[in-house]
């Protein structure tokens, strides 16, 4: 079976214009220490001739300082390094109009965040939280962010590297791509239901089963890419689509909020918008009594 699992570095050349990736350089920022956050690859490349920032996972790297970081795991250094790359991107184009702001391409193949004691003592949650905030800020500042899942997009690691993008794409599951919180076997054990029963239920309800096709139905994946050769063109197409939305101030169609609407459109998450609408109505009904000067 053809697969890009664990081959984030090779994927850069397949997604971006070949041989254009300059690692460790984003705008004015350089990443000079080769031992700093080696599990994260950051740099600048071209996509159809346009400058883009690339952020990916290097599954072959091992972080000597933090031994829980290997195989594409995002550790503290990796997460802050990724955040730095995002802030450097924003800084590089701060004076440019929305139409000119460079895109950020996230190449996603990560099984998790650093699960260690040192990580908890110093705050792993803070490191990956920092990266998510940076991506959200860049997205709101007008940079198109497109995530391409080429391998593993697992739970909290996907939350920080992927789920803050404007659009998320995934290679088809025949390439071994995995998007989930937990595999169905583990979910089966925890919720105490037979795997066969869960598999049957998943046909009608995509909310718990593992795989890009289920996230697609929930609006969590914009488009499934069916061949490796197509990745370049599809990523470029989505960068253009996202940019067009931003230029027209249609940011509500993008990012996590846009995925909510898409989930409703595709019939995968229909309760969410109802709940949000009800909450708004209830707030509107009492808002006056909480305004300044209200008795």
């Amino acid at each position: 079976m053809e697969s890009l699992l664990g081959q984030g570095r090779a994927a850069i050349g397949l997604i971006c214009d070949p041989d254009t990736f300059e690692e460790n350089q984003v705008g004015a920022k350089t990443f000079d220490d080769p031992d700093f956050g080696p599990g994260a690859m950051v740099g600048t490349a071209k996509l159809d001739g346009q400058t883009v920032t690339v952020i990916g996972n290097d599954a072959e790297a091992f972080n000597e300082k933090f031994p829980v970081v290997y195989a594409g795991i995002i550790g503290m250094e990796e997460a802050y390094k990724m955040a730095q790359a995002v802030y450097a991107t924003v800084a590089a184009d701060v004076a440019k109009a929305k139409a000119e702001k460079r895109a950020i391409v996230l190449i996603v193949d990560t099984p998790g965040n650093g699960p260690g004691k040192t990580e908890e003592i110093f705050g792993m949650n803070k490191a990956t939280g920092a990266y998510q905030l940076a991506l959200a800020e860049a997205r709101m500042a007008g940079h198109p962010i497109v995530a391409m899942v080429i391998g593993r997009a697992i739970s909290g690691a996907f939350l920080c590297h992927g789920l803050q993008a404007d659009h998320i794409l995934s290679l088809d599951s025949s390439f071994g791509t995995m998007i989930h919180v937990m595999p169905l076997t583990s979910i089966s054990r925890i919720v105490k239901k037979d795997i066969e029963v869960l598999e049957k239920l998943a046909e009608g309800n995509p909310v718990f089963a593992a795989g890009p096709q289920f996230f697609h139905r929930l609006g969590g994946v914009e488009e499934i890419v069916t061949t490796i050769e197509d990745m370049h063109a599809v990523v470029a197409k989505h960068v253009a689509e996202v940019r067009a939305c931003k230029v027209k101030d249609q940011d509500d169609a993008l990012g996590p909020w846009g995925r909510g609407s898409l989930g409703a459109e595709r019939g995968g998450r229909v309760v969410r918008p109802e709940v949000i609408a009800l909450l708004e109505t209830e707030m509107d009904a009492v808002a006056k009594t909480y305004l300044p000067g209200a008795a």
Partner: protein
């Protein structure tokens, strides 16, 4: 629910989500959003034949502390560990969104509003993150909450309150870290990977999850206060959390950025000094860090009364 005055002296840890929400704001001021009477239970739990709750495990609404409108999100740990699914996630997202809209409305229609008439958001976390029964929807909801936290910046401060049994872990650990202010009791715990998971993945030598002292030293309120991940360490009663919120509500809204740990390029640079320290120290125990920052007797520091702790403790300065 009990009467409001009685709630004040109740332990935050032992209370349920609704009592915490009611007790945090002024008596009689709370309006619940998508509450039990709206009966918005999780359709996904129903499909799986799992027990449902009318509020899906999170209490959301608006109340007041003095003149300050306080948007409250309060998670219920006793219902499936406070886990976040489609309905509960939507309630969190909707509440933050409503708070941002309300703050913008006040900024526009009441340009002369006093600082303490502008809203704040308080999130009482009690969760391990995603609800596995509806894992995909829960994960997507987490990303939406984070997105709203970023959107709130500069409009309405978000305050994390962590003092519940379950603590704040998983994807909600990211969210708490990303808020403006973190208030904890010493019984609150904040992190990403829970002790059981670390032990399971990395072995008992890395983390013995049965060692309660170790668990609290690693993610508990005292430790997080020393590390600067917690801004205020309060007493364990609801009244203490409420008093801290009331104090914060009076501050100029621009001041809240100063409490942040992450969220700017400069703060990332600062945090990296902490990571460098972690690499250098390779601490086997949080106490190693306590000593490193100048606390000579870490065992005593962990056990002394909280009031003394707050007086003598030395904190990590990055």
């Amino acid at each position: 629910m009990s009467n409001w005055s009685a709630l004040q002296n109740r332990s935050f840890l032992e209370s349920n989500a609704r009592d915490r929400a009611l007790g945090l704001v002024d008596e009689g001021s709370f309006t619940e959003f998508v509450g039990p009477f709206d009966r918005r239970t999780s359709p996904h739990l129903e499909t799986l034949g799992e027990a449902v709750e009318f509020d899906d495990g999170v209490v959301t609404g608006i109340g007041k502390i003095g003149k300050t409108p306080v948007f409250v999100i309060s998670q219920e740990g006793r219902f499936i560990g406070g886990s976040v699914g489609e309905v509960g996630g939507a309630k969190m997202v909707g509440t933050i969104k409503a708070a941002i809209a309300f703050a913008k409305r006040i900024a526009k229609d009441f340009p002369n509003a006093e600082e303490d008439e502008k809203p704040i958001i308080a999130i009482s976390f009690e969760t391990g993150g995603v609800r596995l029964h509806e894992a995909n929807a829960g994960l997507l909801a987490h990303a939406e909450v984070m997105d709203q936290v970023q959107r709130a910046r500069g409009h309405v401060p978000v305050v994390s309150l962590i003092g519940s049994k379950v603590g704040c872990f998983g994807g909600m650990g990211f969210v708490a870290a990303a808020t403006d202010v973190v208030v904890m009791s010493e019984f609150g715990r904040l992190g990403l990977t829970g002790p059981e998971v670390i032990e399971q993945e990395m072995g008992k030598e890395e983390f013995d999850s049965a060692d309660r002292g170790l668990v609290y030293r690693t993610t508990g309120g005292r430790h997080k206060y020393i590390m600067g991940d917690c801004n205020f360490l309060v007493d364990p009663e609801i009244a203490a959390f409420r008093a801290q919120l009331a104090e914060l509500a009076k501050l100029p809204r621009a001041k809240f950025a100063e409490f942040r740990r992450i969220g700017t390029s400069e703060l990332v640079e600062k945090q990296l000094k902490g990571v460098a320290l972690a690499a250098k120290m390779q601490p086997k125990d949080a106490r190693d860090v306590w000593v490193h920052v100048g606390n000579s007797d870490p065992v005593e520091l962990g056990s002394m009364p909280l009031a003394d702790f707050r007086k003598v403790v030395k904190r990590l300065a990055l």
